[in-house]
C-alpha cells in the first residue's frame, strides 16, 4: 500500500512537469498544444542519442532543453503565430487541429528515423533503489521529483519576480489590456511557447529512462491535460499539486482495481471534472 503510494507520488511529479508545459500555453495563450507529448518523445530520442555517445542522461537535460526551446520558437513562428488574433474558442479549436497535424508529423518522423521499437535509456544506475522506513525509493524517480521541485520553483520565481513574468501574467488575464499598457503580446506569446516546449526536456529524459516509442506522445499528453483540468485553467501554481493528486489516484486505483485500469481512472476523473465543473475548477479566477 505505502509502496504503491510512493510510486504514485513519484509518477505524479512527472505528470506535474508534463502538465506545466501544457498549462503554460493553455493558461496564457489558450492554445492547446496536442503535440506536446510528441515533442517530449522527440526529446527522449535526442537524449537517447546523446546517451549512446556516452553522455549521462541527466547531463543531457540542458542540451535537450535548449534544443526544444529553439524548436518551440520555430514552431511558433511557422504555425501558431497566426492564431493570435482569434477569439478564445477558435484559438483552442485551431491550435488543437494544428497540434494534431504536428503530432502526425512528429510521430511518423520518429517512426521513420528510429523505427517503431520500444526504446529506453539504460544508464548503470537505472535499477538503483534506496531503502528507508521499510520502503523502496528508486534513484531515478527521486531525482525526477527533485528536478520537478527545482523546475517549479524556478518557474515560480520567473513568473513572480521578473518583468517578463509579470507580462506573461498580464497577458493571460487580458491580452488586449496588456497590449494597451505597452506589453509586446506577440513576443510574450513567442517566449512563453518556447519555454513551454523547453520545459518538456525534463519529462523527456525521465520518460526516456522508463521506456518510450514514437506513438507514446498522446498518452503523456493525456496525463498532462488531465492534470491541467484538475488544477483549473490559468492556474499555473495549482498544476504541480494536481499532478501529485493524479499520481496518487492512479496508484490507489492500481491497488484497488489492478494495473489494467490505471489509465482509465485518470480519464474518468477528467471527464467527471469537465462535466461537474463545466466552468473549470478554479480557472475562472484568472480567466474572467
Amino acid at each position: 500500500m505505502w509502496q504503491t503510494l510512493v510510486f504514485g507520488i513519484l509518477n505524479g511529479a512527472l505528470y506535474g512537469m508534463i502538465a506545466l508545459g501544457i498549462a503554460l500555453v493553455f493558461g496564457i495563450m489558450k492554445y492547446l498544444n496536442v503535440a506536446h507529448g510528441s515533442l517530449i518523445i522527440v526529446g527522449a530520442y535526442g537524449s537517447l542519442f546523446l546517451f549512446r555517445l556516452g553522455v549521462d542522461p541527466f547531463a543531457t537535460i540542458p542540451v535537450i532543453l535548449v534544443a526544444l526551446f529553439l524548436g518551440g520558437a520555430i514552431l511558433f513562428f511557422a504555425f501558431f503565430n497566426r492564431l493570435i488574433q482569434f477569439p478564445e474558442e477558435t484559438k483552442i479549436k485551431n491550435s488543437l487541429l494544428i497540434g494534431f497535424g504536428l503530432m502526425l508529423v512528429l510521430d511518423n518522423l520518429a517512426t521513420f528515423l528510429w523505427t517503431g521499437d520500444e526504446r529506453s535509456i539504460t544508464p548503470s544506475y537505472s535499477g538503483v533503489t534506496f531503502q528507508a522506513l521499510g520502503l523502496r525509493f528508486p534513484l531515478i524517480g527521486l531525482s525526477g521529483g527533485f528536478l520537478a521541485l527545482l523546475l517549479i520553483s524556478v518557474l515560480h520565481l520567473f513568473l513572480s519576480r521578473t518583468y517578463f513574468g509579470k507580462a506573461v501574467r498580464a497577458v493571460s488575464q487580458d491580452h488586449e489590456a496588456a497590449s494597451l499598457t505597452g506589453i509586446n503580446v506577440s513576443r510574450t506569446f513567442l517566449i512563453s511557447f518556447a519555454i513551454s516546449v523547453g520545459l518538456a526536456a525534463i519529462p523527456s529524459v525521465l520518460i526516456g529512462l522508463q521506456s518510450f516509442s514514437p506513438t507514446a506522445g498522446i498518452q503523456w499528453f493525456n496525463k498532462g491535460i488531465i492534470v491541467v483540468m484538475l488544477s483549473g485553467i490559468g492556474n499555473i501554481y495549482g498544476v504541480f499539486p494536481a499532478g501529485l493528486f493524479l499520481g496518487i489516484i492512479e496508484a490507489l486505483s492500481v491497488f484497488l482495481f489492478g494495473a489494467t485500469y490505471r489509465e482509465v481512472t485518470g480519464l474518468v476523473v477528467f471527464v467527471l471534472i469537465l462535466i461537474l465543473f463545466p466552468k473549470g475548477v478554479s480557472g475562472s479566477r484568472a480567466d474572467s
Partner: protein, 308 residues
Amino acid sequence: MKVPKKIWIPICAVVLSAFVPLLTKSEYFINLLIMLFIYIVISQSWNLQGGFNGQISLGHSAFFGMGALTTRLLWMSKIPILLAIIGGGLSAILLAGMVGIPCLRMRRGYFPIGTLGLAIIAQIAVGNILPVPGSLPSEYLAGYSLPSRYYLALAVAILSVLVVYWVIRSRAGWAFVAIRDDEEAAEAVGIKTFRFKVKALLISSFLAGLGGGVFAYHQVSYYYQSPFELSWSFLPTLTTFIGGLGTVLGPILGSICYLALNELFAFTLGEIHLVIFGFTFIMIVLFFPGGLMSVPARFQSSSATRKT
C-alpha cells in the same frame, strides 16, 4: 425538396459503382472501395457535426467502435446483418446520449478535449474487457461473399450522404450553421442552441455507428479495440479538412484523395507519407480552410462560390 441541377453526376457515380463487382474480379480493388465507403460514411458523419455545426469532435472513434462492436456481437448471435447494423447505429446514439451530451455542456471550446478523453476511455476499456481478436466462426466464413459487403457499404455510404444532404437543407440544418457561425447571435434570434447541438451529435453518432457496422461486417478478423483506435477520430478530421469543411461533397472528395494518396505512397514512402499528410493538414487549416472544395472558387468569380 428541390431537385438540384447536375443531379446526373451523383446518379452516374452510384450506377457506375453499382456495376463494379460485375466488371472486376479484383478483390484488392473491391476491398479498397469498401474502405472508401466506410471513410465516406464516417467523414460525412463527422462533417455534419464538425463542419456544419462547428463542434469539432475527436470522439468519433468511440461511436464508430461502438457501432462495430454492437453489430459484430449482434450478428454473431444470429441476428440478420441489416438489423445488427441498425443496432450498431442505435448503440452509438446511446453512447453519444450518455457521455457525448455532457461533453456538449462543457465550457465553450472544450468539446474537442472532452470527446478526446471519451475516445481514449472507450479504447482502453474495450481493449481491457475484450483483449482477443474477434474472428468469424467457420460457418460465417463459408458464406462470406465480397459483393454483399460491397453493396451494403455502398448503400450505407449513399444513405449517409443523403441524410446529411437532407438534414442541412432542413430547418435544423440552418440552425446548425447559424450556431457554428455565431452561437450567441443564434441564441438571440431564438434558436435553442443546446437542443440543436444535441441533434447534430445524435445524427452524427448514428451515422458513425452505421459505418462501424459496415466495418464489422467487412473485416474477417480484427481486435475488438481496433475500430476504437484514435486514428478513426483523426481520419474524418483529415479527410473533411482536405475535401472541404461544411460541404456535402467535401468529405467524399477528401476520402477519395486520402485513400488514393495512401495507396500510392504507403509502400513507396512508408511513414513519410503520413508526415506529408500531417504537414498538408496544417497548411490547409492555416491557409486553405475551405479545402479542395474552395479551389475552383478561387479561380472563378465570387458569384459561383455559394454552392455547397
